[in-house]
């Protein structure tokens, strides 16, 4: 490796390993809310496929498990941080939304072949996606 090449490596590791605990900035909160919105919107699309019978149960089960895990990670990150007084209410709302999205995804994962359930979850996830989008503004 060329001399000095370790410096950017160390910087990258340092930059990417930050997180967990501490105070949440407005921009960080916005990014987390956008992530929740993304998981919810994607979950709604997966649920749509399940509702219409245009996907496989295996895909729905495995993919929603990954999405739920990602939503739960955001929930835990939001829950482990503090925010300034003006932002704290938004942080709590985003945490709650992340939790709701993870729960809906869990339900879809457990019963991927239930079309009626998929239809209900699709609506719930779309609603939560809209709420998270609003929060990210």
């Amino acid at each position: 490796m060329p001399r000095g090449a370790w410096i950017p490596l160390v910087l990258v590791v340092a930059a990417t390993s930050c997180g967990g605990g501490g105070t949440l900035s407005k921009k960080e909160l916005q990014k987390q809310a956008e992530a929740v919105q993304s998981f919810a919107a994607e979950g709604a699309l997966v649920a749509q496929g399940a509702q219409q019978g245009r996907t496989t149960d295996t895909f729905v089960r495995v993919h929603t498990e990954y999405l739920a895990k990602a939503a739960r990670k955001v929930e835990s990150e939001l829950g482990s941080k503090h925010a300034s007084e003006g932002l704290d209410r938004k942080r709590e709302e985003a945490t709650k939304l992340a939790s709701l999205v993870a729960q809906d995804l869990d339900r879809l994962q457990r019963d991927p072949g239930d079309r009626a359930l998929a239809a209900r979850l699709r609506l719930a996830l779309a609603k939560n996606a809209a709420a998270a989008e609003e929060l990210a503004k």
Binding site: M1, P2, S38, A41, E42, L45, G49, F59, V62, H63
Partner: protein, 408 residues
């Protein structure tokens, strides 16, 4: 039919290079973030890789010397060693990520546990590499990877605004996040011109015993193979721009990529997408595994080649087997394959000049190339891309740090 089968080397190199796990997600992310704005970058990347793969294929066909021979000779032992270490690091990261990607695709198809499927993937790769002749490896992975064309069908079925798509081929920037735009530009260029593609391609030319008589075939392989890889990149970006951009979905999972084919085409689209992903990612795993073994053997002057029996090239055989084991150990730690490959793409960008400068030098050396040296057009494009590569190499890591890997 024979002609069709002869372009398999270019198709495997391109499918493995252009649409590996990192590119699948990177192209989708680019489309989801900037809709069609970055399509022009793919064109720049495709032309660049065609120019240099044609050049390194020609060098290999004429002189029987693949890229790493040229690197060691032209850059000297010390700098050559730097190139070897950085290439091997990137190869290993990419190989581990591809093995993880194979396991994820298999999991989405079968529902079996991820770690078990990592083992299945590694064993399958080892058997295929050990048993199948080089040309059959090219054909199996190259042509099965073409199932990814389902994304092109899906993109058409999504009825994008073709006027907006066409505008994406004209460089422009309409975003409040110019640094993230720059990060994706650099990443897409780096992904298109990853060094392991030319290492694999030039060694493949020697494996197949091409001679100056095959220079037309070399040109066809470069243009058709990489042109096809670029076409698949367009399809992925257009799919994401049409489907995910309006909904604010950030694709960071292999399942999200497959969803891009499922939504417009239903179950058949989903299954074809997952099969295409499995073979494209498997092809990339083979590209990187061979590339790592080729680089070591060529740098240290060992006997090498899949066309030789393992006992006739023992250190080459041990090299690819060790790379597979190291990749297995790395991915079994639980590291996210998508994140790993995105790092690999950015780090490989830094190593680009060490690969492409020697190719350009050797392609201009009459002692090697005789009457097959670069013409004016090849040199003009070669120099232009060298400038692009240098700019991209210098800016890649700062952009990755500043943009938090494109997340803002």
């Amino acid at each position: 039919m024979k002609k069709v089968l002869q372009v398999a080397l270019g198709i495997l190199a391109a499918i493995g290079g252009f649409v590996d796990i990192g590119d699948l997600v990177f192209n989708m992310e680019a489309g989801a973030k900037f809709q069609y704005q970055l399509l022009w970058v793919v064109v720049v990347g495709v032309v660049g890789i065609i120019v240099y793969s044609e050049m390194c294929g020609r060098v290999a066909a004429v002189s029987k010397r693949p890229v790493f021979d040229a690197i060691r000779e032209r850059l000297g032992f010390g700098v050559g060693l730097g190139a070897l270490v950085s290439s091997q690091l990137v190869n290993l990261m990419t190989l581990a990520a591809e093995v993880g990607g194979m396991a994820l695709a298999l999991q989405l198809l079968s529902g079996l546990p991820y770690r078990l499927l990592i083992l299945v993937g590694i064993v399958a790769l080892a058997i295929v590499i050990w048993v199948a002749p080089f040309e059959w490896i090219e054909r199996i992975f190259g042509y099965a990877g073409l199932a990814l064309l389902v994304f092109a069908v899906g993109a058409i079925k999504l009825h994008p605004n073709w006027g907006h798509v066409a505008h994406g081929f004209v460089p422009h920037m309409n975003t409040p996040e110019p640094l993230i735009y720059a990060y994706f530009t650099v990443g897409l260029l780096g992904a298109a011109m990853t060094p392991y593609e030319v290492h694999f391609y030039s060694s493949g030319v020697v494996e197949e015993g091409w001679t100056p008589k095959d220079l037309g075939l070399n040109r066809a392989n470069s243009m058709i193979g990489y042109g096809l890889g670029g076409f698949l990149s367009f399809a992925l970006m257009i799919t994401a721009g049409t489907l995910f951009f309006p909904q604010g979905i950030e694709p960071q999972l292999i399942g999200t990529v497959a969803l891009g084919a499922q939504l417009p085409l239903g179950t058949i689209g989903l299954v074809l997408a997952l099969i295409g992903i499995l073979f494209a990612v498997g092809g990339a795993a083979i590209d990187t595994c061979f590339s790592g073994a080729y680089n070591l053997a060529q740098y240290f002057g060992w006997e090498w080649g899949k066309h030789r029996r393992p006992r006739d090239a023992p250190r080459f055989t041990i090299a690819w087997a060790v790379l597979l084991v190291l990749a297995l150990l790395a991915i079994m730690t639980g590291i996210d394959p998508v994140m790993l490959t995105e790092y690999a793409v950015i780090f490989s960008v830094v190593a680009l000049p060490l690969t492409y400068i020697p190719i350009l030098l050797v392609a201009n050396d009459t002692a090697y190339m005789g009457r097959y040296v670069n013409g004016r057009l090849a040199n003009a494009f070669g120099l232009l891309y060298l400038v692009i590569i240098l700019v991209v190499a210098v800016s890649a890591i700062p952009l990755m740090i500043v943009t938090h890997q494109g997340q803002g």
